[in-house]
Symmetry: C2
Subunit: 393 residues, 2 copies
């Protein structure tokens, strides 16, 4: 990583390290950093207050909503900031289930949805006496459309949820068809764009949409929830002046998230080609290591994500071994806390869940970073296998 | 305001403005700003990840919890960061009511608690089929202790909530006695220190405690919830890796909040004397304006808060008039969004609720700022009265 906005030289020289675990937590985009600093000076006040400082903060927040709305193809008033991406998903599921509780308490989700969606769907079902319908996926991680169609058409469904693309394996979902099916059933569709917005073109086939600023180089501690005006939702928690983000969000964080989104969307096409070439190279090289399986759709996928699983390897041991060699990678479920948990996404796909390595390339990831990673990877896998006394070339 | 960390020259020259509305939203403390910048570089990664960058972020977050715990007289593992102060209050009320639902669904609150507490208590009562007991206060805003004692001793109470001191009128509550009463009844006491931590000495007579970093010069978008290990609580929302702050908080924001808290606690005594002298001066001068009532305890109160209400004056008009003269002040309820709403705190005290001006002095507020404010205030009040065609000297 040669980007000067990367981590300062702390535990090891920055020049020798490459951070390849940028899904949901990339270093701040240089323009996001600049926007954050500027808005710490100009947007620190409570945007609800009536004086000059308060109105200035409110203008920054409105500008941020407008910028995000522009990227989403939404109206400014349809976009709100939340405390986190997970909070946006919780609010979308619980708030829609609450508003449509007379319809029924069922929520339809794909098996590879983020943990926040799966858990909120369970919680909504408990509150409203409904059921959570989990629709399976194929070996590439793509939802079974016939099953999805049947599930949304069943009686008592308040909401359906489908990711734009999966952040672990990169596979895109057939959103347009799924949205048609949901619309035909009169069921709003929540699209989780938490791994794709800023990296991939986003279709406008959604009714509710959640997105994740820290995934595109924005700051942590802020999320995005967009709800089409035609969709009925109610804020799920206790009454608050900021009902979708009780206590309000950080105006500087929201502003920096929006600036960063505009910046990454502006050079998305160039970054798509560059990163797609790099992930293709990783997919090809990794497939040559014995007993290693690359997962997810090889073509219809996010440009920057690659995941593979290694037989006879413990994921945590491999992450540690690669970390020692100067490479930060993910493992296990990208959507839950602990990298020690096996990935529910891989399990749902029916592929190997352990010895799992997840890579998400940042805009600052260079060809050299990838080449160096591919040079050390086979040895790292072998060392972990040697320790376990299994496998071998 | 001469502090260079204040607002940049935007709508008007910084030198001519004084921001006197710092309750819940002060400019960043210089050390908080420095800590934020440093931890943006070192703490941007997801603290749950196992690699070097993730562990570095986790260390920063643990250090922040330890620092806050040190100030609170708590154990590190008793302190958690939340998405906001309101989110901390919601989680404390809902999580304790949920954990103690076999005891009953009642929640006891003082009438002057923050809106987040009042609303969460209502929500908890609805969920658990209980009641919200609102205990009245006297003319100074101090809770009626006999009524409080009787309320917590009634059957079916899951939780009681009492502020350390009120952020609008400054009045301190008799926490030690209230805590004794709650303990005698076997009811945990939630203390809202959102307006006092960093400004006033905090007693250790609490079972749960919520605090507000943006109130002491920390960043917005982060809150603090401390829960003694002996108290049973459960996270109230859907399952999450960060159950008390779904999706996690910003590590840089939490770190900056902790650094700022340590800094303000270190010079609290000096700031107490200085700001108490200034607020005494305001109280004395304001009382000399005809038909103006200064509210709250004149002595047993926060050092930096003054509120007064002006007969024959519209609060919003006065805020606007003072803003034009270069002074940012608050009005209406400090605990709800809109400054247009009358203050439930003043209403509960039985004092005048309109024409209300709320001042909270920052550490950077100078004697000159206060003198200039007192020089323009009588004219501003008179101009608003002239427009309304009422009152007059």
């Amino acid at each position: 990583m040669t980007d000067t906005t990367g981590p300062a030289a702390g535990d090891s020289p920055a020049s020798s390290r490459a951070h390849l675990d940028n899904g949901g937590g990339a270093p701040l985009h240089p323009l996001a950093r600049q926007a954050l600093l500027q808005s710490l000076d100009e947007g620190w006040a409570d945007p609800h207050r009536l004086h000059t400082e308060g109105r200035r903060a409110a203008r920054l927040l409105d500008g941020a909503r407008e910028a995000v709305a522009g990227v989403l193809g939404a109206r400014t008033e349809e976009v709100r900031f939340t405390a986190s991406h997970a909070a946006a998903l919780h609010a979308a599921v619980l708030g829609t289930a609450e508003a449509r509780r007379r319809t029924g308490g069922d929520v339809v989700v794909a098996a590879t949805e983020r943990a926040a969606v799966l858990h909120a769907a369970s919680a909504a079902a408990v509150v409203h006496g409904g059921e959570r319908h989990v629709v399976g996926v194929d070996l590439l991680g793509r939802v079974h459309l016939d099953a999805f169609r049947a599930a949304v058409a069943s009686p008592g469904v308040a909401l359906a949820a489908l990711q734009h693309a999966n952040g672990e394996v990169g596979t895109r979902q057939p959103l347009a068809t799924a949205h048609d099916a949901a619309r035909a059933a009169g069921v709003p569709l929540l699209v989780d764009a938490g791994a794709s917005l800023g990296h991939d073109d986003l279709p406008e086939t959604w009714d509710l949409l959640a997105a994740h600023p820290a995934d595109w180089g924005g700051p942590a501690g802020v999320g995005v929830l967009a709800v089409r005006q035609r969709v009925r939702t109610v804020p799920p928690g206790p009454e608050d002046a900021d009902p979708w983000a009780p206590g309000g969000v950080s105006v500087p964080a929201a502003f920096a998230a929006a600036v960063s989104l505009q910046a990454v969307v502006a050079d998305r096409a160039a970054q798509d080609a560059r990163r797609r070439a790099l992930t293709d190279r990783v997919r090809g090289a990794v497939a040559g290591i014995p007993d290693v399986e690359v997962v997810g759709d090889p073509v219809d996928r996010l440009p920057h994500v690659v995941t593979f699983s290694c037989l006879y390897v413990d994921g945590e041991a491999l992450v540690t071994e690669l970390d020692r060699a100067g490479f930060a990678v993910g493992s296990g479920s990208a959507c839950t806390a602990s990298t020690l948990e096996p990935s529910h996404v891989l399990a749902a796909m029916g592929v190997l869940t352990h010895g799992n390595v997840r890579i998400a390339l940042d805009r600052s990831t260079s060809e050299q970073d990838v080449d160096r990673f591919l040079a050390v990877l086979p040895g790292a896998v072998q060392r972990v296998r040697d320790v376990l006394g299994v496998g071998g070339l």
